[in-house]
């Protein structure tokens, strides 16, 4: 199992588009940007709805259940801060409530070989500091 204890992750810097996402994560909730005109969820946040061009966008809570859309197993770490965790699984998750809005994460609490396209996962939260909590994923408990 990948050992994350010695890894110092780069700290996300929220901006005017992304702040609500990070504020929600701090509260232990995933909130994604949703178009109020057509209902489309999108991630990362953007200035307009990427489906209908509306600017009427709000962040809405979504459930943390989803599916691994894609993944890679990292063996080579250009960045030495991640070296102690290799090999580890970096995954892309499509949440059930927000098809098409792809979130990155690591597969925690499992062997990296458990990462497969289509596997069910659920969100967990990893506190980085007092300001930033990172949404992460683990295999769904059936």
């Amino acid at each position: 199992m990948s050992d994350w204890s010695a890894v110092t992750r780069p700290i996300p810097v929220p901006n005017e588009w992304t702040k609500p996402f990070w504020d929600a994560a701090k509260r232990g909730v995933v909130e994604l940007q949703r178009c109020q005109s057509c209902g489309h969820f999108q991630h990362p946040p953007y200035a307009t709805c990427t489906q209908c061009v509306s600017t009427d966008l709000k962040f809405e809570p979504v459930r943390g259940a989803g599916t691994i859309y894609a993944y890679t197993i990292m063996y080579h770490t250009g960045d030495k801060r991640f070296a102690s965790a290799v090999p580890y699984a970096s995954i892309i998750v499509e949440l059930d409530d927000a098809p098409g809005a792809l979130m990155a994460g690591n597969l925690l609490d499992a062997e990296y070989t458990e990462a497969k396209v289509g596997r069910r996962v659920e969100v967990v939260f990893e506190k980085l500091n007092d300001d930033i909590t990172l949404p992460q994923f683990r295999l769904a408990l059936e």
Binding site: I11, A70, Y71, V117, L134
Partner: protein, 394 residues
């Protein structure tokens, strides 16, 4: 069909030495490549009146220093002091293929007569892709905290989706790596010229970002390549046989910055560029005699072959088997070795090879009876451009 079909041609081409590390300033590489391309055309430097490039250093976390880690248009103007310069541009959004297309447009507009396009690539010291130091701002805030650093990892995730959705095996990619390395042995300018690769080497190599092993990734190098473009009429009076440009296209699909791993983004990007190219040239995938498809990472070839229409989605790794991409195969592919063979110089080398194959100037790797020569000059997703060169300007 495009009203400007076959009105522009590639004439001379040039190369610098390709080295693993930066032994001399990048500007010297670029200057060598440009001088060679002009000489290959049979022109004098004073004939050159147009300049274009895409100077970006694709490494993360390294300073861009003009002349050292990039070679801007400004740098080239200062070195060449062209007495008759009338036009120049440095593109940002469509990679080096976009610089070539802008040179084509400038020639068609009559604002220059002989344009040089170069691509110079630096290999910085130390780690190529550095994650943001303490903080992850902008688009990286959703990827860097999870260890996503360079474009290779982004392409790797789309590759796992492609493999597992299509029930495919990465073992089949060995054919691409080995065949391209075979082609490389006919290209003395390439970094891996003189270094063959076996299937055993491929399977024994270390994993970088699964499904990519070392030989799925182009090696960072220092070097430059260049071409001369001119109008078809002028090209016919020059030394080399011209390669006529029958059509081009660029990626039209919108991509959200920081969105990672979407296979659909690659497919839609490539399809949009290819559609323009097929329509403008009047050709289709079945007409193509030889293809160069950008291969900075091997999976880019899958996305290219499928999105451009050479095979159906999910079939690319089967398509490249059984000798089909050999020099005497049904679709000879990356006949100069690709970026996997030359080293990371980006897609201008693919464009050069596409032109050389069309003009019959590819030497011992020349494919027989080429008329229609296709080029996909960068990964289909972000910066994709496509081109068709022909021997006969009908």
């Amino acid at each position: 069909m495009w009203e400007n079909r076959c009105k522009i041609a590639v004439s001379g081409v040039g190369y610098s030495k390709v080295t693993r590390s930066a032994e001399i300033p990048l500007a010297a590489h670029a200057l060598t490549a440009v001088k060679e391309a002009v000489a290959d055309s049979g022109l004098q430097m004073s004939d050159i009146d147009g300049l274009a490039t895409y100077p970006e250093l694709p490494a993360t976390g390294h300073a861009e220093v003009d002349g050292i880690s990039i070679v801007s248009v400004n740098c080239m103007m200062a070195m060449l002091k062209l007495p008759n310069l009338t036009w120049h541009i440095q593109v940002g959004s469509v990679n080096i293929g976009g610089a070539v297309q802008q040179a084509v447009n400038a020639l068609l507009a009559g604002v220059c007569k002989y344009a040089v396009v170069w691509r110079a690539m630096h290999n910085p010291r130390g780690t190529y892709q550095n994650l943001p130091s303490g903080n992850a701002a902008g688009a990286t805030q959703f990827t860097a905290p999870y260890g996503f650093g360079g474009p290779g990892q982004g392409m790797a995730v789309a590759y796992t989706r492609w493999l597992e959705r299509n029930g495919q095996s990465r073992d089949k990619m060995a054919t691409l790596a080995v065949t391209q390395r075979k082609h490389t042995q006919h290209n003395p300018h390439a970094y891996f010229y003189g270094t063959p690769l076996s299937r055993e080497d491929y399977f024994a190599s270390r994993m970088v970002a699964y499904p990519f092993c070392l030989f799925d990734c182009d090696i960072p190098v220092q070097g430059a390549v260049a071409i001369v473009l001119t109008t078809a009429d002028r090209a016919r009076d020059l030394k080399p046989t011209p390669a006529y440009l029958a059509g081009y296209g660029e990626r039209l699909k919108f991509e959200v910055a920081g969105r990672i791993g979407s296979l659909a983004d690659y497919m839609e990007g490539g399809a949009s560029s290819a559609k323009l190219t097929w329509e403008r040239s009047g050709f289709g995938p079945k007409d193509v005699d030889v293809a160069q498809i950008y291969d900075g990472f091997s999976a880019s070839v899958i996305y290219g072959l499928e999105s451009y229409g050479f095979c159906r989605e999910g079939e690319a790794l089967d398509f490249i088997q059984d000798g089909r991409i050999e020099l005497d195969g049904e679709l000879p592919l990356n006949t100069f070795g690709g970026s996997l063979g030359t080293g990371r110089i980006h897609g201008l080398w693919h464009i050069i090879e596409g032109a050389l194959q069309a003009s019959g100037r590819a030497g011992s790797r020349q494919v027989k009876d080429v008329n229609v020569s296709f080029v996909g000059a960068s990964a289909p997703i972000v910066t994709g451009t496509t081109f068709i060169f022909v021997k006969e300007p009908y």
